[in-house]
Symmetry: C2
Subunit: 218 residues, 2 copies
Amino acid sequence: MFSQSEENYLKAIYHLGNPSQKGVSTSDIANKLDTKASSVSDMIKKLSDKKLVEYKKYYGVNLTKKGKLIAASVVRKHRLWEVFLVDKLNFTWDEVHDVAEQLEHIKSKKLMEELDSFLGFPKTDPHGDPIPDKDGNLQTIEKTLLSNLKKGESGICIGVKDSSSDFLQYLDKQNIKLGDQIKVMDKEAFDESTHIQIANRNMNISKKIAANLYIQLQ
Amino acid sequence: MFSQSEENYLKAIYHLGNPSQKGVSTSDIANKLDTKASSVSDMIKKLSDKKLVEYKKYYGVNLTKKGKLIAASVVRKHRLWEVFLVDKLNFTWDEVHDVAEQLEHIKSKKLMEELDSFLGFPKTDPHGDPIPDKDGNLQTIEKTLLSNLKKGESGICIGVKDSSSDFLQYLDKQNIKLGDQIKVMDKEAFDESTHIQIANRNMNISKKIAANLYIQLQ
DNA sequence: ATTAATAATTAGACAAGACTAAAAAATTAT
DNA sequence: ATAATTTTTTAGTCTTGTCTAATTATTAAT
Protein backbone atom coordinates (compact mmCIF):
# COMPACT_ATOMS: atom_id res chain seq x y z
CA MET A 1 0.00 0.00 0.00
CA PHE A 2 2.47 2.64 1.15
CA SER A 3 6.22 2.30 1.43
CA GLN A 4 8.07 2.44 4.72
CA SER A 5 9.59 5.68 3.63
CA GLU A 6 6.21 7.24 2.87
CA GLU A 7 4.93 6.07 6.23
CA ASN A 8 7.91 7.59 7.98
CA TYR A 9 7.34 10.95 6.37
CA LEU A 10 3.64 10.89 7.26
CA LYS A 11 4.50 10.00 10.83
CA ALA A 12 7.05 12.81 11.06
CA ILE A 13 4.49 15.33 9.79
CA TYR A 14 1.95 13.92 12.23
CA HIS A 15 4.31 14.38 15.16
CA LEU A 16 5.50 17.82 14.08
CA GLY A 17 2.04 19.13 13.25
CA ASN A 18 0.59 21.63 15.67
CA PRO A 19 -2.96 22.95 15.44
CA SER A 20 -1.75 26.40 16.48
CA GLN A 21 0.78 26.53 13.63
CA LYS A 22 0.39 26.80 9.88
CA GLY A 23 2.10 23.94 8.14
CA VAL A 24 5.10 21.79 8.96
CA SER A 25 8.28 23.11 7.38
CA THR A 26 10.51 21.20 5.01
CA SER A 27 13.53 21.73 7.21
CA ASP A 28 11.78 20.51 10.35
CA ILE A 29 10.93 17.28 8.58
CA ALA A 30 14.46 16.96 7.24
CA ASN A 31 15.79 17.46 10.72
CA LYS A 32 13.40 14.97 12.30
CA LEU A 33 14.12 12.27 9.74
CA ASP A 34 17.83 13.05 9.58
CA THR A 35 17.71 13.59 5.85
CA LYS A 36 18.21 16.47 3.41
CA ALA A 37 15.69 19.19 2.62
CA SER A 38 15.85 18.29 -1.06
CA SER A 39 14.77 14.73 -0.33
CA VAL A 40 11.89 16.04 1.75
CA SER A 41 10.86 18.37 -1.02
CA ASP A 42 10.70 15.43 -3.44
CA MET A 43 8.74 13.22 -1.09
CA ILE A 44 6.25 15.94 -0.26
CA LYS A 45 5.49 16.31 -3.93
CA LYS A 46 4.82 12.60 -4.11
CA LEU A 47 2.62 12.52 -1.01
CA SER A 48 0.75 15.51 -2.35
CA ASP A 49 0.09 13.73 -5.66
CA LYS A 50 -1.34 10.86 -3.64
CA LYS A 51 -3.58 13.27 -1.71
CA LEU A 52 -1.97 12.39 1.60
CA VAL A 53 -0.79 15.93 2.35
CA GLU A 54 -1.80 19.46 1.40
CA TYR A 55 1.12 21.32 0.04
CA LYS A 56 1.84 24.92 -0.83
CA LYS A 57 5.30 25.83 -2.00
CA TYR A 58 7.34 27.79 0.50
CA TYR A 59 4.53 27.45 3.00
CA GLY A 60 4.45 24.04 4.66
CA VAL A 61 2.57 20.75 4.69
CA ASN A 62 -0.51 19.49 6.47
CA LEU A 63 -1.88 16.00 6.48
CA THR A 64 -5.15 15.37 4.68
CA LYS A 65 -7.79 13.25 6.38
CA LYS A 66 -6.42 10.21 4.60
CA GLY A 67 -2.80 11.05 5.41
CA LYS A 68 -3.65 11.60 9.03
CA LEU A 69 -5.37 8.23 9.27
CA ILE A 70 -2.35 6.45 7.87
CA ALA A 71 0.03 8.32 10.17
CA ALA A 72 -2.15 7.57 13.19
CA SER A 73 -2.25 3.91 12.26
CA VAL A 74 1.54 3.77 12.13
CA VAL A 75 1.74 5.50 15.51
CA ARG A 76 -0.87 3.10 16.86
CA LYS A 77 1.19 0.14 15.72
CA HIS A 78 4.39 1.62 17.10
CA ARG A 79 2.88 2.14 20.55
CA LEU A 80 1.06 -1.20 20.72
CA TRP A 81 4.30 -2.98 19.87
CA GLU A 82 6.06 -1.00 22.60
CA VAL A 83 3.51 -2.23 25.11
CA PHE A 84 4.05 -5.77 23.87
CA LEU A 85 7.82 -5.52 24.23
CA VAL A 86 7.63 -4.18 27.77
CA ASP A 87 4.67 -6.14 29.11
CA LYS A 88 5.42 -9.50 27.52
CA LEU A 89 9.06 -9.60 26.48
CA ASN A 90 10.86 -7.96 29.40
CA PHE A 91 12.12 -4.95 27.48
CA THR A 92 12.76 -1.82 29.51
CA TRP A 93 11.12 1.41 28.39
CA ASP A 94 14.40 2.75 27.07
CA GLU A 95 14.98 -0.29 24.83
CA VAL A 96 11.79 -0.38 22.84
CA HIS A 97 12.09 2.45 20.37
CA ASP A 98 14.33 1.01 17.66
CA VAL A 99 12.50 -2.28 17.45
CA ALA A 100 9.11 -0.57 17.40
CA GLU A 101 10.36 1.60 14.53
CA GLN A 102 10.69 -1.59 12.54
CA LEU A 103 7.55 -3.34 13.75
CA GLU A 104 5.32 -0.34 13.04
CA HIS A 105 5.57 -1.05 9.30
CA ILE A 106 4.22 -4.60 9.41
CA LYS A 107 1.00 -4.77 7.43
CA SER A 108 -1.75 -6.98 8.80
CA LYS A 109 -5.11 -5.84 10.06
CA LYS A 110 -5.73 -9.05 11.97
CA LEU A 111 -2.32 -8.88 13.61
CA MET A 112 -2.98 -5.49 15.15
CA GLU A 113 -6.50 -6.35 16.25
CA GLU A 114 -5.36 -9.52 17.93
CA LEU A 115 -2.33 -7.87 19.47
CA ASP A 116 -4.50 -5.09 20.87
CA SER A 117 -6.79 -7.68 22.44
CA PHE A 118 -3.86 -9.80 23.68
CA LEU A 119 -2.46 -6.76 25.47
CA GLY A 120 -5.83 -5.94 27.04
CA PHE A 121 -6.62 -2.89 24.89
CA PRO A 122 -4.03 -0.56 26.42
CA LYS A 123 -4.68 3.17 26.18
CA THR A 124 -1.09 4.37 26.58
CA ASP A 125 2.38 3.15 25.70
CA PRO A 126 5.19 2.57 28.23
CA HIS A 127 6.14 6.26 28.11
CA GLY A 128 2.59 7.38 28.83
CA ASP A 129 1.86 8.46 25.26
CA PRO A 130 -1.71 7.79 24.14
CA ILE A 131 -2.39 5.01 21.63
CA PRO A 132 -4.63 6.19 18.77
CA ASP A 133 -7.72 4.02 18.24
CA LYS A 134 -8.51 2.29 14.93
CA ASP A 135 -10.06 5.48 13.56
CA GLY A 136 -7.00 7.51 14.47
CA ASN A 137 -8.61 9.28 17.41
CA LEU A 138 -6.51 10.12 20.42
CA GLN A 139 -7.91 10.17 23.90
CA THR A 140 -6.74 13.49 25.28
CA ILE A 141 -5.91 13.41 28.96
CA GLU A 142 -5.50 16.66 30.85
CA LYS A 143 -1.84 16.94 31.71
CA THR A 144 0.86 19.52 32.48
CA LEU A 145 4.57 19.48 32.93
CA LEU A 146 5.75 19.13 36.50
CA SER A 147 7.60 22.42 36.00
CA ASN A 148 4.23 24.17 35.74
CA LEU A 149 3.02 23.03 39.17
CA LYS A 150 3.06 25.53 41.99
CA LYS A 151 4.16 24.85 45.54
CA GLY A 152 1.60 22.63 47.25
CA GLU A 153 0.03 21.26 44.09
CA SER A 154 0.00 17.54 43.49
CA GLY A 155 -0.87 14.91 40.91
CA ILE A 156 0.14 11.66 39.31
CA CYS A 157 3.13 11.20 37.06
CA ILE A 158 1.62 9.96 33.79
CA GLY A 159 4.21 10.44 31.10
CA VAL A 160 7.53 11.72 29.82
CA LYS A 161 8.10 14.45 27.28
CA ASP A 162 11.62 13.41 26.36
CA SER A 163 11.92 9.69 25.85
CA SER A 164 15.65 9.49 25.29
CA SER A 165 17.50 6.60 26.85
CA ASP A 166 19.46 8.96 29.07
CA PHE A 167 16.36 10.50 30.61
CA LEU A 168 14.52 7.20 31.02
CA GLN A 169 17.53 5.58 32.67
CA TYR A 170 17.84 8.55 35.01
CA LEU A 171 14.22 8.04 36.07
CA ASP A 172 14.86 4.33 36.64
CA LYS A 173 17.88 5.14 38.77
CA GLN A 174 15.80 7.55 40.88
CA ASN A 175 12.99 5.00 40.97
CA ILE A 176 10.52 7.45 39.46
CA LYS A 177 7.74 5.55 37.71
CA LEU A 178 4.57 6.36 35.83
CA GLY A 179 1.65 6.19 38.25
CA ASP A 180 3.64 7.64 41.15
CA GLN A 181 1.94 10.26 43.31
CA ILE A 182 3.86 13.55 43.24
CA LYS A 183 3.52 16.66 45.40
CA VAL A 184 5.50 19.87 44.99
CA MET A 185 6.86 20.74 48.44
CA ASP A 186 8.95 23.75 47.48
CA LYS A 187 10.62 25.47 44.55
CA GLU A 188 14.15 26.83 44.74
CA ALA A 189 14.39 30.29 43.18
CA PHE A 190 18.15 30.14 42.81
CA ASP A 191 18.55 27.11 40.49
CA GLU A 192 14.87 26.58 39.68
CA SER A 193 15.01 23.08 41.14
CA THR A 194 11.96 21.52 42.76
CA HIS A 195 11.54 19.69 46.06
CA ILE A 196 9.00 16.96 45.57
CA GLN A 197 7.44 14.22 47.57
CA ILE A 198 7.07 11.19 45.33
CA ALA A 199 5.60 7.86 46.42
CA ASN A 200 6.33 8.94 49.98
CA ARG A 201 9.97 9.73 49.34
CA ASN A 202 11.41 13.27 49.31
CA MET A 203 13.77 14.38 46.62
CA ASN A 204 15.05 17.38 44.76
CA ILE A 205 14.93 17.42 41.01
CA SER A 206 16.47 19.85 38.55
CA LYS A 207 14.62 22.26 36.30
CA LYS A 208 15.32 20.11 33.28
CA ILE A 209 13.84 16.97 34.83
CA ALA A 210 10.71 18.80 35.92
CA ALA A 211 10.30 20.14 32.40
CA ASN A 212 10.09 16.61 31.02
CA LEU A 213 7.64 14.91 33.36
CA TYR A 214 3.92 15.03 32.63
CA ILE A 215 1.57 15.28 35.58
CA GLN A 216 -2.16 14.72 35.81
CA LEU A 217 -3.38 17.22 38.37
CA GLN A 218 -5.59 16.23 41.26
CA MET B 1 23.24 -5.41 7.83
CA PHE B 2 21.56 -7.21 4.94
CA SER B 3 18.61 -6.01 2.93
CA GLN B 4 15.27 -7.78 2.92
CA SER B 5 15.88 -8.70 -0.67
CA GLU B 6 19.24 -10.26 0.11
CA GLU B 7 17.70 -12.19 3.00
CA ASN B 8 14.93 -13.46 0.75
CA TYR B 9 17.41 -14.77 -1.79
CA LEU B 10 19.48 -16.47 0.91
CA LYS B 11 16.35 -18.07 2.32
CA ALA B 12 15.28 -19.30 -1.10
CA ILE B 13 18.67 -20.88 -1.70
CA TYR B 14 18.52 -22.41 1.79
CA HIS B 15 15.14 -23.99 1.08
CA LEU B 16 16.06 -25.16 -2.41
CA GLY B 17 19.44 -26.54 -1.46
CA ASN B 18 19.76 -30.29 -1.34
CA PRO B 19 22.85 -32.12 -0.10
CA SER B 20 22.41 -34.70 -2.84
CA GLN B 21 22.44 -32.07 -5.60
CA LYS B 22 25.16 -29.80 -6.93
CA GLY B 23 24.11 -26.18 -6.70
CA VAL B 24 20.79 -24.41 -6.81
CA SER B 25 19.93 -23.19 -10.30
CA THR B 26 19.20 -19.62 -11.27
CA SER B 27 15.84 -20.56 -12.72
CA ASP B 28 14.76 -22.45 -9.61
CA ILE B 29 15.45 -19.38 -7.53
CA ALA B 30 13.65 -17.16 -10.03
CA ASN B 31 10.69 -19.50 -9.90
CA LYS B 32 10.63 -19.66 -6.11
CA LEU B 33 10.86 -15.91 -5.68
CA ASP B 34 8.54 -15.17 -8.59
CA THR B 35 11.11 -13.00 -10.28
CA LYS B 36 13.19 -13.09 -13.49
CA ALA B 37 16.34 -15.10 -14.07
CA SER B 38 18.22 -11.93 -14.94
CA SER B 39 17.43 -10.42 -11.56
CA VAL B 40 18.62 -13.58 -9.86
CA SER B 41 21.83 -13.51 -11.85
CA ASP B 42 22.50 -9.96 -10.67
CA MET B 43 21.76 -10.73 -7.04
CA ILE B 44 23.89 -13.87 -7.02
CA LYS B 45 26.82 -11.83 -8.18
CA LYS B 46 26.26 -9.47 -5.30
CA LEU B 47 25.90 -12.21 -2.70
CA SER B 48 29.00 -13.85 -4.07
CA ASP B 49 30.98 -10.60 -3.69
CA LYS B 50 29.84 -10.54 -0.08
CA LYS B 51 30.98 -14.15 0.43
CA LEU B 52 27.51 -15.34 1.26
CA VAL B 53 27.31 -17.83 -1.59
CA GLU B 54 29.72 -19.84 -3.72
CA TYR B 55 29.07 -19.25 -7.33
CA LYS B 56 30.22 -20.78 -10.58
CA LYS B 57 28.74 -19.55 -13.81
CA TYR B 58 26.36 -21.96 -15.47
CA TYR B 59 26.72 -24.29 -12.50
CA GLY B 60 24.66 -23.16 -9.52
CA VAL B 61 24.93 -21.59 -6.10
CA ASN B 62 25.63 -22.92 -2.65
CA LEU B 63 25.50 -21.04 0.60
CA THR B 64 28.77 -20.39 2.41
CA LYS B 65 28.92 -20.97 6.16
CA LYS B 66 28.12 -17.31 6.69
CA GLY B 67 25.29 -17.29 4.15
CA LYS B 68 23.79 -20.41 5.68
CA LEU B 69 23.82 -18.87 9.14
CA ILE B 70 21.97 -15.80 7.94
CA ALA B 71 19.44 -17.87 6.03
CA ALA B 72 18.86 -20.11 9.04
CA SER B 73 18.37 -17.09 11.26
CA VAL B 74 15.69 -15.74 8.91
CA VAL B 75 13.98 -19.13 8.88
CA ARG B 76 14.24 -19.28 12.66
CA LYS B 77 12.58 -15.90 12.97
CA HIS B 78 9.88 -16.83 10.47
CA ARG B 79 8.96 -19.98 12.35
CA LEU B 80 9.11 -18.46 15.82
CA TRP B 81 6.77 -15.69 14.69
CA GLU B 82 4.42 -18.32 13.27
CA VAL B 83 4.28 -20.01 16.65
CA PHE B 84 3.57 -16.65 18.25
CA LEU B 85 0.73 -15.90 15.85
CA VAL B 86 -0.94 -19.25 16.38
CA ASP B 87 -0.28 -19.79 20.10
CA LYS B 88 -0.84 -16.24 21.30
CA LEU B 89 -2.83 -14.33 18.70
CA ASN B 90 -5.44 -16.86 17.56
CA PHE B 91 -4.20 -17.13 13.99
CA THR B 92 -4.97 -20.39 12.19
CA TRP B 93 -2.10 -22.28 10.61
CA ASP B 94 -3.18 -21.23 7.14
CA GLU B 95 -3.14 -17.52 8.00
CA VAL B 96 0.37 -17.10 9.33
CA HIS B 97 2.60 -17.21 6.29
CA ASP B 98 2.23 -13.71 4.83
CA VAL B 99 2.65 -11.96 8.16
CA ALA B 100 5.63 -14.11 9.10
CA GLU B 101 7.23 -13.20 5.77
CA GLN B 102 7.25 -9.62 6.98
CA LEU B 103 8.19 -10.27 10.60
CA GLU B 104 11.16 -12.47 9.68
CA HIS B 105 13.10 -9.37 8.60
CA ILE B 106 12.89 -7.52 11.92
CA LYS B 107 16.38 -7.06 13.31
CA SER B 108 16.80 -7.38 17.06
CA LYS B 109 18.75 -10.05 18.87
CA LYS B 110 17.01 -9.41 22.16
CA LEU B 111 13.59 -9.57 20.52
CA MET B 112 14.14 -13.08 19.21
CA GLU B 113 15.71 -14.35 22.41
CA GLU B 114 12.84 -13.04 24.50
CA LEU B 115 10.22 -14.24 22.04
CA ASP B 116 11.76 -17.71 22.03
CA SER B 117 11.61 -17.78 25.81
CA PHE B 118 8.08 -16.31 25.89
CA LEU B 119 6.91 -19.12 23.61
CA GLY B 120 8.58 -21.79 25.76
CA PHE B 121 11.45 -22.59 23.37
CA PRO B 122 9.35 -24.35 20.73
CA LYS B 123 11.12 -26.86 18.49
CA THR B 124 8.68 -26.80 15.58
CA ASP B 125 6.37 -24.31 13.91
CA PRO B 126 2.59 -24.78 13.47
CA HIS B 127 3.15 -26.85 10.32
CA GLY B 128 5.57 -29.20 12.06
CA ASP B 129 8.67 -27.70 10.44
CA PRO B 130 11.72 -27.60 12.72
CA ILE B 131 12.92 -24.27 14.10
CA PRO B 132 16.68 -23.79 13.64
CA ASP B 133 18.54 -22.96 16.85
CA LYS B 134 20.65 -19.81 17.28
CA ASP B 135 23.61 -21.46 15.58
CA GLY B 136 21.49 -22.47 12.61
CA ASN B 137 21.33 -26.15 13.52
CA LEU B 138 18.20 -28.11 12.75
CA GLN B 139 17.02 -30.96 14.88
CA THR B 140 16.32 -33.74 12.40
CA ILE B 141 13.40 -35.92 13.30
CA GLU B 142 12.91 -39.24 11.55
CA LYS B 143 9.84 -38.86 9.38
CA THR B 144 8.25 -40.26 6.23
CA LEU B 145 5.31 -39.38 4.08
CA LEU B 146 2.11 -41.19 4.90
CA SER B 147 2.13 -42.45 1.31
CA ASN B 148 5.23 -44.50 2.13
CA LEU B 149 3.56 -46.44 4.94
CA LYS B 150 2.52 -50.00 4.27
CA LYS B 151 -0.72 -51.63 5.37
CA GLY B 152 -0.68 -52.16 9.11
CA GLU B 153 2.02 -49.56 9.85
CA SER B 154 1.26 -46.70 12.19
CA GLY B 155 2.71 -43.49 13.58
CA ILE B 156 2.00 -39.92 14.58
CA CYS B 157 1.15 -37.15 12.17
CA ILE B 158 3.91 -34.58 12.74
CA GLY B 159 3.93 -32.24 9.77
CA VAL B 160 2.76 -31.19 6.35
CA LYS B 161 4.83 -31.08 3.18
CA ASP B 162 2.57 -28.66 1.33
CA SER B 163 1.51 -25.76 3.50
CA SER B 164 -0.85 -24.07 1.08
CA SER B 165 -4.04 -22.63 2.46
CA ASP B 166 -6.11 -25.10 0.45
CA PHE B 167 -4.40 -28.12 1.93
CA LEU B 168 -4.37 -26.81 5.49
CA GLN B 169 -8.04 -25.92 5.30
CA TYR B 170 -8.81 -29.36 3.95
CA LEU B 171 -7.08 -30.89 6.98
CA ASP B 172 -9.06 -28.62 9.32
CA LYS B 173 -12.29 -29.66 7.65
CA GLN B 174 -11.39 -33.33 8.10
CA ASN B 175 -10.24 -32.58 11.64
CA ILE B 176 -6.77 -33.97 10.98
CA LYS B 177 -4.28 -32.39 13.35
CA LEU B 178 -0.59 -32.65 14.11
CA GLY B 179 -0.12 -35.10 16.97
CA ASP B 180 -2.90 -37.40 15.79
CA GLN B 181 -2.25 -41.14 15.88
CA ILE B 182 -2.56 -42.66 12.39
CA LYS B 183 -2.71 -46.29 11.29
CA VAL B 184 -2.88 -47.51 7.70
CA MET B 185 -5.73 -50.02 7.52
CA ASP B 186 -5.67 -50.69 3.82
CA LYS B 187 -4.48 -49.34 0.49
CA GLU B 188 -6.70 -49.25 -2.60
CA ALA B 189 -4.80 -50.41 -5.67
CA PHE B 190 -7.29 -48.87 -8.10
CA ASP B 191 -7.05 -45.15 -7.13
CA GLU B 192 -4.11 -45.43 -4.74
CA SER B 193 -6.21 -44.05 -1.90
CA THR B 194 -5.54 -45.07 1.69
CA HIS B 195 -7.90 -46.23 4.41
CA ILE B 196 -6.64 -44.88 7.70
CA GLN B 197 -7.64 -44.92 11.29
CA ILE B 198 -6.91 -41.51 12.76
CA ALA B 199 -7.56 -40.51 16.36
CA ASN B 200 -10.02 -43.42 16.51
CA ARG B 201 -11.95 -42.36 13.41
CA ASN B 202 -11.85 -44.23 10.11
CA MET B 203 -11.49 -42.38 6.86
CA ASN B 204 -10.29 -42.71 3.31
CA ILE B 205 -7.80 -40.22 1.95
CA SER B 206 -6.58 -39.67 -1.59
CA LYS B 207 -3.11 -40.33 -2.90
CA LYS B 208 -2.36 -36.62 -3.00
CA ILE B 209 -3.26 -36.07 0.65
CA ALA B 210 -1.16 -39.03 1.78
CA ALA B 211 1.78 -37.64 -0.18
CA ASN B 212 1.70 -34.44 1.85
CA LEU B 213 1.45 -35.66 5.42
CA TYR B 214 4.59 -36.42 7.39
CA ILE B 215 4.46 -39.33 9.82
CA GLN B 216 6.78 -40.29 12.63
CA LEU B 217 6.81 -44.08 12.65
CA GLN B 218 6.25 -46.08 15.78
C1' DA C 1 14.02 49.66 1.13
C1' DT C 2 17.80 47.37 0.02
C1' DT C 3 20.97 43.95 1.55
C1' DA C 4 22.12 39.81 4.11
C1' DA C 5 20.88 35.52 5.77
C1' DT C 6 17.97 31.58 5.75
C1' DA C 7 14.89 28.26 3.77
C1' DA C 8 13.00 25.75 -0.15
C1' DT C 9 13.22 24.06 -4.70
C1' DT C 10 15.24 22.33 -8.96
C1' DA C 11 18.55 19.88 -11.74
C1' DG C 12 21.38 16.22 -12.20
C1' DA C 13 23.66 12.06 -10.33
C1' DC C 14 23.72 7.69 -7.95
C1' DA C 15 22.65 3.00 -5.73
C1' DA C 16 19.51 -0.86 -5.16
C1' DG C 17 16.69 -3.89 -7.25
C1' DA C 18 13.82 -5.00 -10.67
C1' DC C 19 12.64 -5.59 -15.83
C1' DT C 20 13.04 -6.62 -21.25
C1' DA C 21 15.49 -8.03 -25.06
C1' DA C 22 19.40 -10.01 -26.94
C1' DA C 23 23.59 -12.79 -26.77
C1' DA C 24 26.18 -16.66 -25.07
C1' DA C 25 26.75 -21.06 -23.01
C1' DA C 26 25.12 -25.61 -21.95
C1' DT C 27 22.21 -29.41 -22.69
C1' DT C 28 19.33 -32.48 -25.44
C1' DA C 29 17.92 -34.52 -29.63
C1' DT C 30 18.69 -36.15 -33.98
C1' DA D 1 28.76 -34.13 -34.39
C1' DT D 2 25.77 -30.86 -35.46
C1' DA D 3 21.29 -28.67 -34.78
C1' DA D 4 17.65 -27.36 -31.71
C1' DT D 5 16.26 -26.14 -27.31
C1' DT D 6 16.82 -24.48 -22.82
C1' DT D 7 19.24 -21.93 -19.41
C1' DT D 8 22.09 -18.26 -18.02
C1' DT D 9 24.21 -14.01 -18.56
C1' DT D 10 24.81 -9.32 -20.32
C1' DA D 11 23.40 -4.79 -21.76
C1' DG D 12 20.47 -1.28 -21.19
C1' DT D 13 16.28 0.83 -18.99
C1' DC D 14 13.15 2.04 -15.11
C1' DT D 15 11.55 3.26 -10.31
C1' DT D 16 12.31 4.58 -5.59
C1' DG D 17 14.61 7.20 -2.58
C1' DT D 18 18.58 9.46 -1.67
C1' DC D 19 22.38 12.98 -2.35
C1' DT D 20 25.17 17.50 -3.87
C1' DA D 21 25.30 21.78 -5.99
C1' DA D 22 23.08 25.55 -7.75
C1' DT D 23 19.08 28.52 -8.01
C1' DT D 24 15.05 30.88 -6.30
C1' DA D 25 12.05 32.59 -2.72
C1' DT D 26 11.31 34.31 1.86
C1' DT D 27 12.52 36.50 6.10
C1' DA D 28 15.51 39.40 8.99
C1' DA D 29 18.68 43.25 9.60
C1' DT D 30 20.36 47.51 8.95
